[in-house]
């Protein structure tokens, strides 16, 4: 191998990283721990939601409704006997939702005619967000449909239901958790490792030593960045493999190769971002705080944890232009949906554009003299 600053610093960086036990633990163990923790959330989704019910009605129909509600496989239903107790359980977080069967439930059912009927209204209290609301409504519609099956003749109430039962343990959750875990690893190790290392180099006056030599200072620093990116890619692959095992996910070899490319490009990008942070920081401690401030929004708005639809439109539009977007979207497309070569290439292109931008900033900073 030719002796150039790029090669020499790359080699030195490999040795420095391998000899640093804490870094190795970070790269190898953290992805496994993180994916394991996310898997707990995924497993938790399989647990039946706990719903408390208060039956205000004393009609037969309400008893039937309560019985059907209790027989739902996806729900763990527990009856309470006052409005206050139900709300209290909800407030303490002991239940996901509190359903009130209204006082006139049976009477309204009886009044239903062929042409004119009044809707059955359940009062549902819940503390969770929009998705929980949809879920509970869906289940209650299912309950009403079951009651329709129970009653006969013209007392049947027509109910329109898109999907009667919601599979809570389906792909939708791992779709979110797996990319989320990987993006935490990729962004965190990429930005954090690089920014702290560069700030340390700066603090130890080695940046000046590199700068005062006749070679372009970007060469040795790029050597260090490339090696950090390789380690970040390895950590991301460990996270992916752990995720595949834990979430019972199988992906094709093509998707695996695509992942390596995507992870590596993103790792260089995040290491470059780390480099810019490191160059701007006076000391390692300030680099760490700035890195944390950058990492949090990058991950939060990456759409990895929350779908863009949950944000106001302007926020989700901004999220699409973040450096984390190609990685999140690329992973979703590779593992869960069909992706075209063109679509994947366009994501890599966006990533490469970001990379170019940060390379130019890094280059400028390296050659800038105070």
């Amino acid at each position: 191998m030719k002796r150039t600053p790029f090669n020499a610093f790359m080699k030195a960086q490999v040795k420095r990283r391998i000899r640093n036990k804490r870094f190795l633990v970070w790269v190898v163990i953290m992805p496994i721990i993180l994916m394991g923790s996310l898997h707990l959330i995924w497993e938790g989704q399989g647990v039946q939601p706990h719903i408390v019910v208060f039956n205000q009605d004393d009609s037969n129909m309400s008893v039937v409704a309560l019985g059907i509600l209790k027989s739902q496989e996806d729900l763990e239903v527990h009856e309470v006997f006052s409005l206050e107790t139900g709300i209290d359980e909800l407030r303490k977080g002991d239940a996901e939702a509190f359903v009130v069967i209204p006082r006139d439930f049976g009477a309204k059912w009886d009044q239903i005619g062929e042409d004119d009927f009044e809707s059955i209204v359940f009062d549902v209290y819940y503390t969770a967000g929009e998705q929980e609301e949809k879920l509970i409504n869906l289940i209650l519609k299912g309950v009403v449909e079951d009651i329709n099956r129970f009653v006969e003749g013209d007392k049947q109430r027509p109910v329109e239901i898109n999907s009667r039962r919601l599979s809570l343990n389906g792909g939708a959750t791992s779709d979110m958790l797996l990319p989320a875990g990987i993006i935490i690893i990729n962004v965190h190790i990429g930005v954090y490792a690089s920014s702290t290392d560069i700030s340390r180099v700066k603090e130890h006056n080695l940046c000046k030593k590199i700068k005062v030599g006749p070679k372009d200072p970007i060469h040795p620093l790029m050597g260090m960045i490339i090696i950090d990116s390789v380690f970040t890619t390895v950590a991301s692959m460990i996270a992916l493999i752990s995720g595949m095992v834990l979430f019972d996910l199988s992906i094709s070899y093509i998707a695996l190769l695509g992942s390596i490319l995507l992870f590596f490009l993103s790792s260089i990008l995040f290491s470059m971002i780390g480099h810019v942070i490191g160059k701007h920081s006076d000391a390692q401690t300030s680099a760490q705080s700035i890195a944390s401030m950058v990492i949090f929004p990058l991950i939060f708005f990456s759409q990895a944890f929350l779908f863009s639809s949950i944000f106001p439109r302007y926020v989700s539009n901004i999220a699409t232009y973040l450096p984390t977007y190609p990685l999140t979207e690329g992973m979703r497309q590779l593992y869960f949906y069909q992706i075209s070569i063109l679509g994947f290439m366009s994501l890599l292109f966006i990533c490469a554009l970001w990379l170019l931008l940060f390379f130019l900033i890094s280059y400028h900073l390296e050659n800038k003299r105070r």
């Binding site: 030195a12 130890h204 590199i210 005062v212 006749p214 070679k215 003299r369």
Partner: protein, 288 residues
């Protein structure tokens, strides 16, 4: 005059601190000491003239190549950097690399094909090559940094307090190395906080105070070796002197011996001792 470095009217403002009106030159094969109290601007001066930080104005020339003249001349600077060696203050090497790996890595910054030449002639480091830098003493680390600054055979070398942490043996080895390089035509700018043996081979001393050059002592060698310029006031109060030539030169004591080393103590009484760095601060500057 054949100059290795020529600095004219250089200014540099760093925060509240300002280097102002810096004018000096270093001849080929000359050792110039840079003295000054803590915070006087020695390190900032070195960083500015090596263009690690860009001067605000002025002109800097290395070997007749202008590297700064209102703006950095990149091509010339690159050429000058090849001929410049520098040991920075508070420079810290990577602890996890071995000494040999450190030389292998940092020698590439100067395109050196053979990193062994950085350390092959230094017996003090021979047994440490496979040890990690982190386990070495501060003195040994300083020696490695010194070797890194001279290994590519530069023509001019800036050493920022090179004697820190050094024991007598290492200091003596470094001194001999500087002596040999000087005789081979290498120029040095060496900043000091204490006047160590490097005074033996120094030609001139520059005193800096509050970012300004207070004095450049051209006949430093005479001062250091006892031919101290003596004021009339001192002479009148020194009855033990047998003969003195006022203004300069040797003072001869009653016992007929030359006083090889002198300094001026309290109440203008002569003291028989080697001059300390602080003595030079009191040397009256001349109009330059």
């Amino acid at each position: 005059m054949d100059h290795a470095l020529s600095v004219k009217n250089v200014y540099k403002c760093i925060g509240d601190f300002e280097l102002s009106d810096i004018n000096f030159d270093i001849r080929r094969g000359e050792v110039m000491l840079l003295g000054g109290k803590n915070g006087s601007g020695k390190t900032k001066l070195m960083e500015t003239i090596s263009c690690i930080s860009t001067p605000s104005k002025g002109r800097i020339k290395y070997f007749d190549n202008t590297v700064y003249d209102g703006k950095i001349k990149k091509k010339n600077l690159k050429h000058a950097n090849r001929r410049l060696g520098i040991l920075l203050q508070d420079e810290r090497l990577w602890d996890s690399l071995t000494v040999r790996e450190t030389f292998d890595t940092f020698s590439t910054l100067y395109g050196t094909e053979d990193p062994e030449r950085y350390y092959s002639k230094c017996p003090l480091i021979k047994d440490e090559l496979n040890k990690k830098v982190g386990v070495l003493s501060d003195g040994k680390k300083q020696l490695i940094k010194f070797l890194l600054s001279i290994g590519h055979n530069p023509d001019i070398i800036f050493l920022d307090e090179p004697s820190s942490f050094l024991d007598d043996r290492v200091r003596r080895w470094i001194l001999n190395k500087i002596k040999r390089l000087k005789s081979a035509g290498t120029s040095f700018l060496i900043s000091i906080n204490l006047l160590w043996e490097v005074g033996e081979i120094a030609d001139r001393m520059m005193i800096i105070e509050d970012g300004q050059i207070k004095n450049i002592i051209d006949d430093f060698h005479d001062y250091y070796n006892g031919n101290l310029l003596v004021s009339d006031n001192v002479l009148n109060n020194t009855p033990d002197c047998l003969s003195v030539e006022p203004g300069h030169n040797t003072i001869i004591t009653k016992d007929g011996l030359d006083i090889a080393v002198l300094g001026i103590g309290k109440d203008d009484l002569l003291e028989v001792r080697r001059p300390a760095l602080g003595d030079f601060y009191r040397v009256k500057g001349r109009d330059r």
